[in-house]
């Protein structure tokens, strides 16, 4: 190419491009004018037309929320139901004069001036076509008062809804749980479409566990509405499907007796059928009324529950971690028999204390002057600590830990209620991982009597006792028994698989331990002998007293001088009849002092109620 073409005349080119730029800018201006004219035609000239179209444009697709399934106990008594509730709703857009309306409402429902000011502010903040809830849970009288004055209150209406209600109040607060308003965290976990129109969701307990079953599926209604938002005609209707009804294994009578038996103590009672794992009663005290949670509990009320030192919101049956104390002894004894370290006849001498060889620290027996010569049976029935210090030391923590695994100590039982705690069955690995410390032999010694690091939940205690009662058959505890689909009358039992049974070298080992537990209740020196009278069959049980407060060497535990909060926890596990177990009971009475005096009688009352035995005294 010749150089002639590469020469550029810059000022010429600049003028050329600038001319074109000016033309382009003018063209842009022209486009702007065209668009503005178009917009003016739409927004000014044809405004009336489009405004009326917009107002007519109210084909509402409103969701028809499903009715939540009901929850019954095993006798068919309602534990959770849906009751109609009326609320007063204001649609600000349709209210000609908000101030007048609010003044009228204030007079009708005697609302204070301060509250009205607050409500007015809230209404101003939200969008004008959204309904504002003026008042919830209207009484019949209030509905009547409104109806009479309705003509003076355009844009205000009474809306009826079904809301969850727990007729048994606090009795099943922890087990059945409650529903509450769907919050942001819930929204992340649910299909928002399926919850259109639904305001509540299961928050705890059975309500949460079986949410998908109880909720049902949403329906839709397509309606044409007028400018005021009132339905003119229905265009389409896809009805909702109610949730499924749930029948629980819980027995309201047993639950009530257990709650009453626990009395003023904080603590827990669990009763279950060992053959099936059916949970008959689950009491956690103190409890609370779940009903205020349904429509949103007030901050003040909630704060009081949350901050109470007694922790009423805390479900002790599943999350309360207590040292098992002596209730662990039958399981340790079984480990000793099974691993061949002791036989039924092996005798041990209890001088009132135990020391590891070469150390002078004295691990004391609860009986200051000792039990003398004890064997397996007497060591369980009289709850001799020294026998179990010795046995645990012989077993070592590794063997003890892996044997306790069979009874699900340190594992979730898998009960069908959420947020169960695993408890803690200590091991060398656990201690290294969690505290970065080695395991000391002394810690094995106190593990033998269920102290030290050991922590079990009441449901774990009941579950382990059930495995013992069933001679090794492990059945997952289950609260829900059956479901009933909406519109059907027959129940559908919830199936569950049986876990395999625990293999045992000699089945006589089970009987030896269970015999010893029968001796606890019926033996002449048994620690719970006072509950063994007036009963046509044998109860197998074991008392336990768990230290809350460490007693120093050579010091005496004195209930009188200790504050109530530091009193020992009282525990008791039992099943009856011993030879053919029908019921398992585990009791934890916090700061109850003594397993034999406090916890055992509670268990006896539950057993009496279950078998229909009239109170003995």
């Amino acid at each position: 190419m010749s150089t002639r073409f590469t020469l550029k005349n810059h000022s010429n080119e600049n003028r050329l491009i600038n001319d074109r730029l000016i033309f382009a800018a003018l063209f842009a201006g022209l486009l702007f004018i065209i668009v503005m004219v178009r917009l003016a035609v739409l927004q000014v000239v044809e405004y009336e037309h489009f405004d009326s179209l917009s107002n007519k444009n109210r084909i509402d697709i409103s969701p028809l929320p499903p009715q939540r399934g009901l929850i019954y106990d095993r006798n068919g008594i309602v534990l959770a139901e849906n009751i109609p509730s009326f609320s007063l709703e204001i649609t600000p857009e349709n209210v000609p004069n908000l101030d007048d309306t609010l003044t009228t409402l204030a007079a009708l429902f005697s609302v204070s001036e301060v509250d009205i000011t607050k409500i007015r502010k809230q209404i101003k903040q939200q969008r004008r076509f959204r309904q504002f809830t003026f008042r919830q849970r209207l009484t019949e009288e209030e509905v009547a008062v409104f109806s009479v004055n309705r003509h003076t209150l355009p844009g205000v209406e009474v809306v009826g809804r079904l809301i969850r209600h727990y007729p048994q109040g606090a009795l099943f607060a922890h087990t059945v749980g409650y529903v509450g308003r769907i919050n942001e965290r819930d929204q992340k976990n649910i299909d928002l479409k399926a919850y259109k129109g639904t305001q509540q969701i299961g928050k705890t307990g059975i309500e949460k566990q079986y949410e998908s079953l109880l909720h049902g599926s949403v329906g839709y209604q397509q309606v044409e509405t007028n400018v005021q938002g009132r339905t003119v005609r229905e265009l389409q209707n896809v009805s909702s499907t109610s949730g499924q009804d749930l029948f629980l294994n819980l027995d309201i009578n047993l639950q009530r007796v257990a709650a009453e038996a626990l009395g003023e103590f904080n603590g827990a009672v669990v009763a279950l059928v060992p053959k099936t794992g059916a949970v008959l009663a689950m009491v956690s005290k103190p409890d609370f009324d779940p009903n205020p949670f349904v429509l949103g509990i007030s901050t003040k009320e909630y704060g009081a529950l949350r901050d109470s030192v007694d922790m009423p919101l805390f479900n002790r049956t599943l999350r309360g971690r207590y040292p098992p104390g002596s209730t662990l002894k039958p399981f340790v004894a079984l480990a000793g028999l099974e691993l061949g370290l002791v036989t039924e006849q092996t005798k041990s001498f209890c001088p009132g204390w135990f020391s590891l060889p070469g150390q002078d620290h004295r691990y004391r027996c609860w009986k200051k002057h000792g039990h003398g010569h004890v064997d397996l049976k007497s060591s369980i029935s009289q709850s001799c600590d020294v026998y179990f210090y010795d046995l645990a030391n012989a077993l070592g923590i590794d063997r003890l830990h892996s044997f306790l695994d069979f009874f699900d100590f340190g594992h979730r039982t898998g009960i069908d209620i959420p947020s169960e705690s695993k408890g803690l069955s200590p091991s060398r690995e656990w201690k290294r991982a969690s505290r970065n410390q080695t395991w000391y032999p002394g810690e094995t010694v106190i593990s033998g009597i269920g102290q030290g690091f050991n922590q079990t939940t009441p449901i774990q205690l009941a579950h382990a006792t059930a495995i013992l009662a069933m001679r090794g058959i492990n059945v997952r505890p289950q609260v829900a028994r059956a479901i009933r689909k909406s519109g059907q009358s027959e129940l559908e039992l919830i199936e569950k698989e049986l876990a395999e049974s625990l293999p045992m070298e000699d089945s006589q080992h089970w009987e030896a331990v269970i015999d010893s537990m029968v001796d606890v209740v019926h033996g002449t020196r048994g620690t719970a002998r006072h509950i063994g009278k007036n009963i046509p069959f044998k109860i197998a049980g074991k008392t336990g007293t768990a230290q809350v407060f460490g007693i120093k060497q050579d010091e005496k535990y004195d209930a009188e001088t200790l504050a109530k909060k530091l009193h020992d926890h009282a525990l008791f596990i039992a099943f009856a009849p011993a030879d053919n177990p029908e019921i398992v009971v585990a009791v934890v009475a916090e700061n109850g002092g003594s397993g034999s005096r406090t916890a055992a009688p509670i268990a006896r009352k539950v057993i009496d109620q279950y078998f229909g035995i009239s109170p003995s005294e």
Binding site: K8, L16, V35, Q43, S54, N57, R58
Partner: protein, 376 residues
């Protein structure tokens, strides 16, 4: 005030303008863009059902886009000219790759899944096409000769056809127009321009023949939206109702029933302009359009002050293409143009296009702030 104390006499005096110029930002343009994006966020809050998650995602994109602007603004225009062929070449290969093994979304193959992120090669082409055409035409004296003009047009048509085949007609038309604007600015004679327009108009029936069914449907609906009020015409009918019912002053922020009660489809993306019109009225959309015009005007001023023909062509094309985006979107939402799926720049919710747009403005700033350092 002492009028003699103005900056010109005291070059060392600190000012925002000068501080921004150090990092190669043009203060006026940058301020305009930030204002527009701020307004966009306020509108998106209403259009996106007050979702904070949506706002956070959009803010993240804006941050990424501003970062892209900063980076591009600091690249010398000469380096851009050097890279033009490479960018274009890579873009072409990626476009072919998309057609071969691209990721399908909403019935169109636009995405290239690179494992860690998804990339739309057409976005690269939005900048590569005007860059290459401006660079190619400015190599020789303007206005271009006929052979060079034809080569320039081929450079435009090839990627446009590839993108139209994805099919993404909206982007394809925008890329074609960004290239054609360069050609127009390069000073080709009016006879050729008029001849071109006539040819295009007569080619419309051919275009109809190659169009996809859904595209034909859109054109038909555009011509008569009422023919299919619940199907394809629904968008445009609802959009017109939203705009019209906004009136002079609008229904107020968050108060538009068309938008808030979800009658208006795609209201946070392509149809966000209708939300503005409904909630802020003619006054609101007028102000918004003026903001767009002022930004473009600054761009055109920058183009006119540029020191090389390449920079002039490029800056002019970027500024004008920005306005084309706006007018195509507004035209389609108001029913002046068929629905082609072009977002409202810097306001619509959406990802890659914002980064590309601000990178484009980065080029403008680079052109303006590197002036003194350029050889005459």
């Amino acid at each position: 005030m002492n009028s003699h104390l103005i900056d010109r006499h005291h070059p060392q005096r600190w000012s925002v303008t000068r501080a921004l110029a150090v990092i190669h930002l043009d203060a006026l343009l940058f301020l305009g863009l930030l204002m527009l994006m701020g307004a966009g966020l306020i509108i998106l809050y209403s259009a996106g059902d007050q979702s904070t998650a949506l706002m956070i995602r959009q803010l993240t994109r804006m941050a990424a886009a501003v970062f892209a602007l900063l980076v591009v603004a600091n690249i010398h225009p000469d380096r851009m000219r050097d890279a033009a062929y490479w960018l274009y070449g890579v873009g072409l290969i990626l476009l072919i790759a998309v057609l071969a093994f691209g990721h399908e979304g909403k019935g169109a193959q636009r995405w290239l899944d690179l494992g860690f992120f998804r990339f739309q090669p057409s976005e690269l082409m939005k900048l590569a096409v005007p860059l290459l055409v401006a660079s190619y035409l400015a190599e020789r004296p303007l206005s271009p000769t006929i052979p060079r003009l034809i080569i320039g047009l081929v450079m435009i048509i090839v990627p446009s056809l590839l993108i139209a085949k994805q099919p993404d007609l909206g982007t394809s038309l925008l890329i074609a127009s960004s290239g054609l604007i360069v050609v127009f600015l390069s000073g080709i004679s009016w006879r050729i321009i008029i001849g071109f327009i006539v040819t295009c108009t007569s080619a419309l029936p051919v275009l109809w023949y190659v169009m996809h069914d859904y595209q034909k449907q859109r054109v038909l609906t555009f011509l008569n939206p009422e023919s299919d009020p619940l199907g394809a015409g629904y968008h445009i009918i609802q959009s017109k109702i939203a705009i019209g019912s906004g009136g002079l002053f609008g229904r107020g922020w968050l108060e538009g029933t068309q938008s808030q009660l979800a009658f208006l489809p795609e209201r946070s993306t392509d149809f966000i302009f209708a939300v503005i019109a409904e909630e802020f009225g003619l006054l609101g959309v007028g102000l918004l359009l003026i903001m767009y015009l002022l930004i473009a005007a600054r761009g055109i001023y920058i183009a006119s002050q540029a020191q090389t023909s390449f920079a002039r062509l490029l800056a002019g094309s970027i500024s004008m293409t920005f306005l084309v985006y706006v007018f195509v979107n507004v035209g389609m939402v108001t029913g002046l143009l068929p629905v082609v799926g072009v977002p409202l720049p810097l306001v619509s919710y959406g990802g890659t296009s914002m980064v590309t747009l601000l990178a484009g403005f980065g080029i403008l700033m680079s052109v303006h702030t590197h002036r003194r350092m350029m050889s005459p």
